[in-house]
């Protein structure tokens, strides 16, 4: 009976219970959003594209034009020939970045394993404050490390007093100082990526390896490390990019031969073409890293979907070990809180009273009185708040719409729009400032023919470019959690696109948008890197004022401004922490529409 084709034994085949949409259908659900007509997305996207081109992309080209405008490519040849400043700056920057990656990697991964894999006294406390050093604004953070660990710092001088030596003990200077700042402020990239990977990892995978007979070392080598690789690679790229862009640490520890410092020095010496050359080179390197990161992130990650046994912590049981762990935790807490503590202490010191003592000798409330009452002194505070507020409003409007367009609409050039926003994120602040100087020191279509350099408006514009990605990313992340069918349901019930967007999508995005806006605002208040290149005496923001006060040895007043920034940051962190766990509705929306 060879003519009977085999029918599958249906009795044993389970019935189909799931209907995963084919990928193409899922992808094209983007179209569903607001397409009244084919060109609707373009109507929304065109102004956004124009803004991103005008203020992010076009200034980059302007900088390149500036760098080759006078001497042609001659400015670039110095990077590849001879052993001048240009070449050594590039090499120093790259070396510092590479060293930062290694140091941050060791600290961050070790911290993640300790805190996520072990249970010991003091663990929760450390976990609570582990991100504190990294949360400091760049300038005040670097200053706090200078006050703590440099030749004139509290720790080396304290040790000098303790041991009665000739000179300060273990001072960090130059590149070593820069690396200390980088390690303390950037290890969270590794810590966060590794802990997320560890928490997201299905413990049964590890257990399976043990079950199959692998020893601890083999499990590490063949299972854990390979599964952590994606997290480690993206953290490395992030640290490298951030180190490359770092400007305050080299400034405070006097390492002149880095790319960012050379940009600043050339700019203040009036050699804009040379500053532009450095900015172009740094910009290109950063963009290459951005592209590398996007390429890498597109690849597979090993986050497991299964909901089996929760990952477990090993309890330290040895009593000696427990005491040691407690002690180490306490030291850890002191080290983590020392920067903030130092700024707080110094903020109450009398200006000019601290010379060779370990800690300041005379204390006063005057610094705080000064910054809030002296019109000259509170001017920077008003400036910072004003500039940040204007920039934040811009970031919210543009960031939310770009996030919506990129996530939900289908149009040609969607990828380009995405890249343009991320470009703003990848470019170092120094480069952003030079780009804007190149583009807007003469009239330009995007400034309506006005010269913006030397005016107030260049400041909010720079902040807008720098912090747009923050709002974009948090909006986009919230949007990713919202099922597109919510908006479709509204449309189906008769709502126009605008109404559906307003009453459903935007409303549900709100916590994410708000968190992003707060983040942008607080970054604005701490902004230094771009401001220092474009401020005028009327528009100087807080951080620039801190820097100026440091130069005139008014350390106490500088620290008082710093405390103001720090308090603001912690208030915002608490508020956005609330937002995240906050409005029930949106949290649950995320839960059951994911």
């Amino acid at each position: 009976m060879s003519t009977i084709p085999a029918t599958p034994n249906a009795a044993t085949v389970p019935p189909v219970t799931e209907d995963p949409r084919p990928p193409r259908a899922r992808r094209s659900r983007r179209l569903a959003g607001g397409a009244n007509s084919r060109w609707f997305p373009y109507l929304l996207v065109f102004p956004l594209a124009l803004i991103l081109f005008g203020y992010v992309v076009q200034p980059m080209f302007a900088t390149f034009a500036e760098s080759v405008g006078v001497d042609g490519l001659a400015n670039y040849t110095v990077f590849f020939t001879g052993d001048g400043v240009a070449r050594s700056s590039l090499v120093t920057s790259l070396v510092i970045s590479a060293a930062s990656v290694v140091l941050c990697g060791i600290v961050g991964v070790a911290m993640a394993f300790l805190l996520k894999r072990f249970s010991f006294p003091g663990r929760r406390l450390i976990e609570a404050i582990i991100l504190v050093p990294a949360a400091l604004p760049p300038l005040i953070g670097a200053i706090s490390f200078q006050l703590l660990y440099s030749e004139t710092g509290i720790l080396p001088r304290g040790l000098q007093h303790l041991f009665g030596t000739e000179s300060p003990v273990l001072p960090f200077t130059g590149i070593a100082g820069v690396l200390v700042v980088h390690t303390f402020t950037m290890y969270p990239f590794f810590y966060l990526a590794t802990s997320a990977a560890l928490v997201g990892m299905d413990p049964s995978v590890e257990e399976a390896a043990y079950n199959l007979g692998a020893g601890r070392v083999r499990v590490w080598r063949t299972v854990l490390l390979p599964m952590l690789t994606p997290a480690l690679v993206s953290a490395s790229l992030l640290v490298f990019m951030t180190s490359l862009a770092s400007y305050t640490a080299p400034l405070l520890f006097g390492v002149d031969q880095t790319m960012t410092m050379q940009i600043y020095i050339n700019r203040t010496n009036g050699d804009l073409p040379m500053a532009s050359t450095y900015a172009s080179v740094l910009g290109v390197v950063s963009v290459l890293f951005l592209l590398g990161m996007r390429w890498y992130e597109g690849r597979r990650s090993y986050r497991s979907q299964s909901k089996g046994v929760a990952s477990h912590r090993r309890e330290l049981t040895n009593p000696f070990g427990r005491w040691l762990a407690l002690l180490a935790s306490l030291v850890g807490v002191v080290v983590l809180l020392a920067p903030v503590g130092t700024i707080a202490l110094v903020a109450f010191s009398l200006d000019g009273s601290w010379t060779t003592e370990v800690v300041p000798s005379a204390y006063t409330m005057q610094n705080f009185v000064t910054i809030f009452t002296d019109p000259e002194a509170y001017r920077p505070i008003v400036n910072s708040l004003q500039i940040s507020l204007i920039a934040t409003v811009g970031c919210v409007v543009v960031g939310v719409l770009v996030a919506y367009a990129v996530r939900r609409l289908d149009f040609r050039g969607r990828g380009l729009l995405d890249v343009a926003v991320m470009l703003a994120w990848a470019l170092p602040g120094t480069v952003v400032a030079i780009n804007l100087i190149s583009a807007f020191s003469t009239g330009n279509a995007f400034s309506l023919g006005q010269v913006l350099i030397g005016t107030f408006w260049i400041m909010p514009l720079a902040y807008f470019v720098r912090f747009l990605p923050l709002v974009f990313r948090s909006s986009s992340a919230t949007l990713a959690q919202l099922d597109p069918s919510l908006e479709e349901a509204a449309r189906n019930l008769g709502a126009s696109w605008w109404r559906a967007f307003g009453t459903v999508t935007l409303r549900l995005m709100l916590p994410g948008v708000l968190a992003g806006a707060l983040l942008a605002f607080v970054h604005g208040v701490g902004e230094f890197v771009a401001s220092v290149l474009i401020y005028t005496s009327e528009t100087a923001p807080i951080s620039v004022e801190i820097n100026n006060r440091m130069y005139s040895f008014e350390v106490g007043t500088a620290a008082a401004y710093g405390m103001l920034q720090i308090v603001l940051i912690f208030v915002v962190m608490v508020v956005s922490g609330r937002l995240e766990s906050g409005p029930k509705a949106s949290r649950e929306a995320a839960q059951w529409t994911a």
Binding site: S2, I4, N9, V16, R24, S28, L31, S485, G494, E588
Partner: protein, 357 residues
């Protein structure tokens, strides 16, 4: 209540190459009918429904509500009520606010809106739940809110995209009875998408079986079950043996095929079956229609039991007939029947049916 027509509707997605997600679909749904699009994953049934809702526009073809051409009309101007697979309830609104959303857009007055919301909630047995938050409801209750929200606007058509797939088995059966009752009461034309053939059979006036973007057969549940148009439908709906047998003689509405034992059997065939003597016919026969008898009975195919599975209500057997497996479902099985035993199979000529490949 309105009739819905799809005229040679095709949909190609820009990035999916040349393959059409929906390929030349022609469907006419009568006013008040409960019509189901049934098919496996990726067959184009959801895409078809979304074109009716206006979330996609067809690449070619027309969609009409009554005489109105709605092919390129935006979703908010179509007056359809859709129940989404994951319900898509607005998490920031209460139950009543969810149901009232469509009424608010239609500028229905406050009192009238309140009355209609209460009526709709009553209809789905959720009276008094109006002030609850969505997350305080169970999955089944959420499903009914979604239904109330779609019905309260008195849509011209009710569109249901696998609304039961997130419910557990028992609730699924209860809810499908409810949906059918409410649809009958309101008299709304309903288009229902599912991959579950039992659900489709139980609920529908008519079913369109889809595969690879094409409609394979449209018909009433009985028709699709007993007279499947092709081998795909025969196998997809219920379980079926599709035997390919040599044709001994071909009539206008029947085909006589030769069985392995040498006997001949005349089987009903669709008109224009296109078969001729010496060709091969595909004949569909349901496992439960095959009679189990002793191996020695005259006219029965003899075979060896190769698998035996007792399911309580019946027994599923796989019988090896000259090297080919045939599925048989029997209520009564001789006591002591075991794998390896010889049995006889009686093929029911009157219940067999020639299918197209």
């Amino acid at each position: 209540m309105i009739d819905v027509t799809l005229e040679s509707v095709s949909k190609r997605f820009a990035r999916a190459g040349d393959t059409a997600a929906v390929d030349d679909v022609d469907i006419r749904i009568a006013a008040g009918e409960f019509f189901t699009l049934l098919g496996p994953s990726g067959c184009g049934k959801t895409t078809t429904l979304r074109m009716v809702a206006g979330f996609y526009f067809p690449t070619s073809g027309r969609i009409r509500f009554g005489d109105e051409d709605v092919t390129h009309r935006p979703p908010n101007k179509r007056d359809t009520g859709m129940v989404f697979q994951n319900y898509a309830l607005f998490p920031h609104m209460t139950v009543a606010q969810n149901v009232a959303y469509g009424l608010k857009i239609r500028k229905v007055g406050r009192a009238e809106s309140k009355r209609r919301v209460e009526e709709a909630l009553g209809q789905v047995h959720l009276a008094g739940y109006g002030d609850r938050r969505i997350d305080q409801l169970s999955g089944g209750q959420q499903q009914r809110v979604a239904l109330a929200r779609a019905l309260v606007i008195r849509p011209r058509t009710l569109l249901l995209d696998e609304p039961l797939s997130n419910l557990d088995a028992k609730l699924r059966e209860e809810t499908r009875v409810e949906i059918r009752r409410i649809q009958k009461e309101s008299g709304t034309t309903a288009i229902y998408v599912t991959h579950d053939q039992a659900e489709a059979m139980a609920m529908s006036d008519r079913i369109a079986v889809m595969e690879s973007g094409r409609v394979q057969q449209i018909g009433a549940p009985q028709e699709i079950y007993h007279r499947p148009a092709n081998a795909f439908v025969a196998r997809f709906i219920g379980r079926s043996n599709v035997l390919s047998l040599p044709v001994a003689a071909a009539g206008p509405q029947t085909v006589t095929v030769a069985l392995p034992g040498g006997d001949q059997l005349t089987v009903a065939a669709p008109a224009e079956h296109g078969l001729a003597e010496n060709g091969t016919a595909l004949v569909s026969v349901r496992p439960e229609h095959i009679g189990l008898t002793s191996a020695t009975e005259a006219g029965a195919l003899s075979g060896r039991v190769s698998e035996l599975e007792f399911t309580g209500m019946s027994t599923n057997l796989l019988v090896d007939v000259a090297g080919e497996p045939v599925q048989v479902t029997a209520i009564d099985v001789p006591a002591g029947l075991a794998v390896g035993d010889q049995v006889g199979l009686r093929l029911p000529g009157e219940r067999m049916w020639v299918v197209r490949p």
